[in-house]
């Protein structure tokens, strides 16, 4: 074990278990100055409790599988350094608003169903096209799309607004963001048809809630901007009749 100058040699994990009444505590040695919350969870599982349930895959912030709530805030376990955390104890809970399956692992089905309900997928205008469209990256449409791109569907946004908006009642910020991208996408053939279905959700989602979702987004997607732009698109669409 390396004792890192200026930091604690161990960190305490306070982890929620499947039964909300149960919690487990682990004293985890800091293996590296750059160790992540994921490393601490893995150490606890390999050395203390082989039943501890947490989910991860890529370990480099690309897959979003390890999103949890760390000291009250949604974050990717693989991207959160132990050294960033204030205080000696890390409280780790599963994402909010999604059913828990095993300890820190939630059922992501309602989140994915939101994406499916929203039809947040390209409906191709030219599916048989056999070359690549010319897409100038500096065009207004493209810069709008690119500013919103990069979602890793981790579910942090729906967790952050779980108190205001139930996942089952709408489609969620990630799906709304994708619909905005598609509204500007010239290769998409569905046009504004999808926007009608989500108008009520767009208008009911509060500015504070979406700002909170944005603040925890590991891909730093400007979700507040997405909501504003959707509102304006829906208004334009209504004006046109």
């Amino acid at each position: 074990m390396t004792d890192i100058a200026g930091s604690k040699a161990t960190v305490t994990l306070d982890v929620a278990r499947t039964n909300p009444a149960d919690r487990s505590h682990f004293e985890v040695p800091m293996q590296s100055a750059y160790a992540r919350v994921l490393d601490a969870l893995n150490w606890a599982r390999e050395n203390e409790d082989p039943t501890l349930g947490f989910r991860y895959a890529c370990r480099v912030g690309m897959c979003g599988a390890c999103a949890v709530v760390i000291n009250g805030r949604e974050a990717l376990a693989c991207q959160t350094s132990l050294g960033e955390i204030d205080g000696g104890t890390l409280r780790i809970e599963p994402l909010r608003g999604l059913p828990t399956r095993h300890d820190l692992i939630v059922d992501m089905r309602p989140f994915f169903e939101g994406l499916a309900r929203a039809e947040a997928a390209l409906r191709p205008r030219e599916p048989d096209r056999r070359d690549l469209p010319v897409i100038p990256p500096a065009s207004n449409e493209r810069t709008t799309i690119e500013a919103q791109n990069g979602c890793i569907t981790c579910g942090a946004c729906v967790s952050a607004i779980a108190d205001e908006a139930k996942v089952d009642d709408g489609v969620g910020p990630a799906a709304l963001n994708r619909l905005l991208m598609l509204a500007f996408e010239e290769r998409d053939g569905a046009g504004a048809a999808r926007l009608k279905e989500i108008a009520a959700e767009v208008h009911s989602l509060g500015g504070d809630a979406i700002a909170r979702a944005e603040s925890v987004c590991p891909a730093a997607i400007p979700l507040s901007t997405a909501l504003e732009k959707l509102k304006s698109l829906i208004a334009d669409h209504d004006d046109q009749g």
Binding site: N47, R109, E113, R130
Partner: protein, 593 residues
């Protein structure tokens, strides 16, 4: 569509051979096991070519989140420019593979790669990087005679898998998350596949999936090695299932190590790849004495040589005592400048900053890292395996890349062969019938999983021992003694694992998952070890320190299958030079300046 197995699947009371409780069954036309790029592409193509079929995709992790397509950085090799040609791409691929690629599979790869890019862009909405005038941007990766790699920054996989996942979600495809394949079901003859036994990680329920066609697209077994770039939930499950079902394998000695895995001691981040574009753009590799050591190994191509040579050179420097304290070497990109690095490799720049390294001002400590399995299940150009009704695509299949894969050809393989496999399984399911499965075989597999034991944590320790063993003896530098010793130690580890009573608790039990992973990895390790012993020469990623030269007598592929004692039979089969003779490709690939 995403289903809960409990909702999608009904209990089958007429199955008396299923003695235990918590047994479910489902019937489908097409069963896809895997959740990465090849599996999703196959599911989409199967659905589009035959919308009436019942398609079930069972993913060990979350669909689209597990597997390695999502982690693709460098990009996708495809001929799009008028000055490039599929012949050039083909020759680069075969030369890169040290001439033992399956020439028909490689031809399929290079000729169909453009089709899949048009589909990803026009039908799925992927956007790869453009030049300022809106035309496609193509960059340099190693071993290529033309800059033909399309990409999206240095995080290409997120774009591909995000768009594939949403296309799967809006189709009528049953997506089972965190449900792994345990073993294939066969008919009474043992030669036709009839489905698979699946396990739901959380509920612990076993699911008997009765299917007309089964596709294995679970990914390879790079996590067999102590240091790996791959997504760590992968454990060669498709390979091991196919092995136990009697399928033939090819090129299993060929495991690719990427030259530049980030070193982060004591973290799961260790071994994750820093993309090849950094070397393509002119990055240098230095040993601990700050010497640009590639001068001694490949003075012409230097750092832009193929992955096998660059990885081996790095390992030799480390072995010779010229490595860093953490057994690494340095990647030096400081001379490329901060502005260029932030523009061309923003993802890598950010990742290095999180481990205290600023690429623009600091040397980056890296190590070769287990990356990609070239070897795999023997397939034809329709992704058929040697078991009737069983198909394989992506890293589960072997032969496309020969002895070494070019950067950018991996995701192209997953897309091209995923699409082919989707159409093949749909055709097979439409034309074929569901064979009744052999209940004795199912009973044996099920009995093995009936447990009464405790949860011990031992599988984690045994798997770590296995990974250290593979790194030391089945890795970049091999020799006859090491391979023989590793074979014995594999038997020992397998014995110790077998002595652990199967745990009584099947659901929500990572200890059990780890054990099943280790069992599969042991099967894969045996295939690798025996093929590596049989190849008494050095070629591509397979390097024998005791026989360091290539030998034309080994222009063969080693074909393996399981024998009655559980060990592989290994036989050489001459390479079929259907499109290029070895003489035509003796010259080295010319790398553009």
């Amino acid at each position: 569509m995403v289903y809960d197995p409990r909702r999608a699947v009904s209990l089958d009371p007429d199955a008396p051979y299923l003695r235990a409780t918590h047994v479910q069954s489902l019937t489908c036309d097409v069963l896809i096991i895997g959740g990465g790029g090849a599996a999703l592409f196959a599911a989409i193509h199967a659905s589009d070519s035959a919308p009436d079929l019942d398609i079930v995709l069972a993913s060990k992790g979350l669909f689209g989140k597990s597997g390695c397509t999502r982690m693709v950085q460098g990009g996708y090799n495809v001929v799009l420019h008028e000055d490039d040609s599929v012949d050039k791409h083909y020759d680069d691929t075969i030369r890169g593979g040290s001439l033992i690629n399956n020439q028909e599979l490689a031809w399929t790869l290079v000729t169909q790669a453009p089709e899949r890019v048009f589909e990803m862009e026009n039908s799925f909405g992927c956007t790869f990087d453009r030049n300022a005038d809106g035309t496609i941007h193509q960059r340099a990766l190693a071993g290529q005679s033309f800059n033909r790699t399309i990409h999206r920054g240095d995080l290409t996989g997120i774009e591909i898998i995000s768009r594939l996942s949403e296309q799967a979600l809006v189709r009528d495809i049953e997506l089972l998350n965190e449900v792994r394949g345990i073993d294939l079901l066969l008919d009474a003859s043992g030669r036709t596949v009839a489905g698979a036994l699946l396990l739901d990680h959380h509920s612990g329920e076993l699911i008997t999936a009765h299917a007309t066609a089964v596709l294995l697209a679970t990914g390879g077994a790079a996590p067999l090695y102590r240091i790996t770039a791959a997504s760590l939930e992968k454990s060669g499950d498709g390979l091991a299932m196919a092995y136990r079902a009697g399928a033939e394998f090819v090129d299993m000695e060929m495991m690719q190590f990427h030259p530049t895995g980030l070193i982060v001691d004591g973290s799961l981040l260790n071994g994750t790849v820093l993309e090849e574009g950094l070397r393509g753009a002119g990055g240098h590799l230095l040993n601990a004495n700050h010497e640009r050591y590639m001068e001694h190994y490949d003075p012409e191509k230097m750092e832009r040589s193929t992955r096998d040579r660059v990885s081996r050179s790095g390992m030799m420097e480390i072995r010779a005592g010229r490595g860093t304290a953490s057994e690494g070497i340095y990647l030096d990109v400081r001379h490329l400048g901060k502005e260029f690095l932030l523009k061309s490799s923003p993802g890598m720049y950010a990742r290095c900053l999180t481990v205290g390294t600023d690429m623009a001002t600091d040397l980056i400590e890296v190590t070769p890292t287990a990356h990609f399995q070239m070897g795999g299940i023997l397939i034809d150009t329709d992704c058929r395996t040697t078991v009737d009704g069983l198909f394989a695509a992506g890293e589960d299949a072997g032969g496309v890349h020969g002895a070494n894969r070019l950067g950018g050809n991996g995701v192209a393989e997953s897309m091209v062969f995923g699409a082919i496999a989707g159409e093949s399984i749909a055709r097979h399911a439409r034309e074929g019938t569901r064979a009744p499965f052999d209940k004795d075989r199912l009973g044996m597999v099920r009995t093995r999983l009936e447990g009464s034991g405790e949860i011990t944590g031992q599988p984690f320790k045994l798997k770590n021992r296995l990974r250290a063993l593979a790194w030391d003896y089945l890795g970049i530098l091999r020799d006859a003694d090491g391979l023989a010793g590793a074979a014995d130690e594999l038997d020992t580890i397998e014995g110790e694992l077998g002595e652990l009573a199967m745990p009584a608790m099947r659901g929500a039990n990572p200890d059990l998952q780890e054990r099943l992973d280790a069992e599969n990895l042991i099967d894969v390790a045996r295939l690798i070890g025996t093929a590596a012993s049989a190849r008494e020469e050095s070629r591509g990623s397979h390097f024998r320190e005791d026989i360091p030269d290539s030998d034309d007598r080994f222009l063969v592929n080693f074909v393996q299958r399981r024998t009655a004692d559980g060990k592989p039979n290994t036989e050489p089969r001459p390479v079929d030079f259907t499109r290029r003779t070895p003489e035509a490709l003796r010259d080295e690939t010319l790398i553009p300046a």
